[in-house]
Amino acid sequence: MKLFTILVSTILVNNYVFARFLGICPFLGVSTKMETATGMGFAVTFVITLASAITYFIQHAILDPLGIGYLQTLIFILVIASLVQFIELFIRKTSPGLYNAMGVYLPLITTNCVVLGVTILNIQEKYTFIEAITSGFGASLGFFLALILLSGVREKLELADVPEALKGVPIALISAGLMSIAFSGFSGLV
């Protein structure tokens, strides 16, 4: 039951984009087209879920026993950066089709703060291994959902008659704000 609560909470109630403001840069950057948004969404889901598992082991098997918890930020970002690099190499060798679909988005993920945010929050919330993976998976699904929704809206906005000054990013931000109001309707669900 707790796993289900974590999943619902990370996807809808505490959506990482709309309620916690993590991953705004890629959220605005790649949401202009539905196709790119989907590619980025899959890549992020993959990386976050894997990163949640690996950082859990690093925290509990290396940092805690050695008493060097203060190195958390430094170690985690290095792990994420090398994980992203490794996945890129692995996919390029094994599956060219998949690489074409999401390869270009992989390097961008290192500076996507959702990844570092989720891994640090997992440790702060004192999640168990399974819970940490669930929360990572839920967070990335939430990010995916937000990205797809905004890219759908932005594709329509291109045809709409928007005031000159608001064209581009300002109107995207305002749309995101309205979506965020809609998402705040989920609060109290868990």
Binding site: F21, L22, L28, I77, L78, S82, T111, L116, P170
Partner: protein, 207 residues
């Protein structure tokens, strides 16, 4: 480029938040009040200046192929120092910034300046660039914080001794402006207004 120009460049022409649109996560999240915005801004100025100094000094030592991981390590080191310092001496700021303090590491403003400026320029220009970009970030963040606070709580400078209740006691503030949706909408309006101002200034300069 003259030093004063580098400074002006960071605050106006290439303002990291309003023009380059980087580091938006922390902008949206911690701009709930003027004081929060200001403290986040100062934290970013510290990390940005220190990392620009170190990257600039090491620019001939760091091999090109591994420069990005090297920059990240430099930035993460200063963020960790700042985190430990705030935790020890300024507990309230540490609590207010929360998860966004370690996340300064992935604030793209800092990595972008290391990559595009400090790794190609001498020490003093790099330091000034860090200061300019940091000031641009801080100014935007504190103004956004002040506006959100005024609309959402009806106060100015809350959290300090000089707190002012602008609209008097009975004022019903619209809480949405301090909630997440307000941040998105206000930042959108800020960018639109800034674009209009910059366009007018450019048109004037061209005449």
């Amino acid at each position: 480029m003259k030093l004063s120009e580098i400074l002006k460049n960071g605050i106006f022409d290439e303002n990291p938040v309003l023009v380059q649109l980087v580091g938006l996560c922390s902008v949206l999240a911690v701009s709930t009040s003027f004081i929060n915005g200001l403290s986040m801004g100062l934290a970013v100025i510290f990390v940005l200046c220190c990392s620009n100094i170190v990257v600039s000094l090491l620019r001939k030592v760091i091999p090109d192929t591994i420069r990005i991981p090297a920059f990240i390590v430099v930035i993460a080191t200063f963020v960790t120092i700042l985190e430990m310092f705030l935790n020890a001496y300024l507990e309230s700021v540490y609590k207010a910034l929360g998860i966004f303090l370690p996340l300064i590491v992935v604030n793209c403003t800092i990595l972008a300046r290391a990559e595009s400026f400090a790794s190609k320029n001498k020490l003093i220009p790099s330091l000034v660039d860090g200061l300019g970009m940091g000031l641009g970030f801080t100014l935007t963040l504190s103004i956004l914080g002040a506006v959100r606070e005024l609309l959402g709580k009806g106060t100015l400078l809350s959290g300090t001794a000089a707190e002012i209740n602008v609209f008097g006691e009975g004022f019903q503030a619209a809480g949405i402006w301090v909630a997440p949706p307000g941040a998105f909408i206000l930042l959108g309006i800020f960018i639109a207004v800034f674009n209009v101002i910059m366009k007018k200034r450019k048109a004037k300069a061209a005449e």
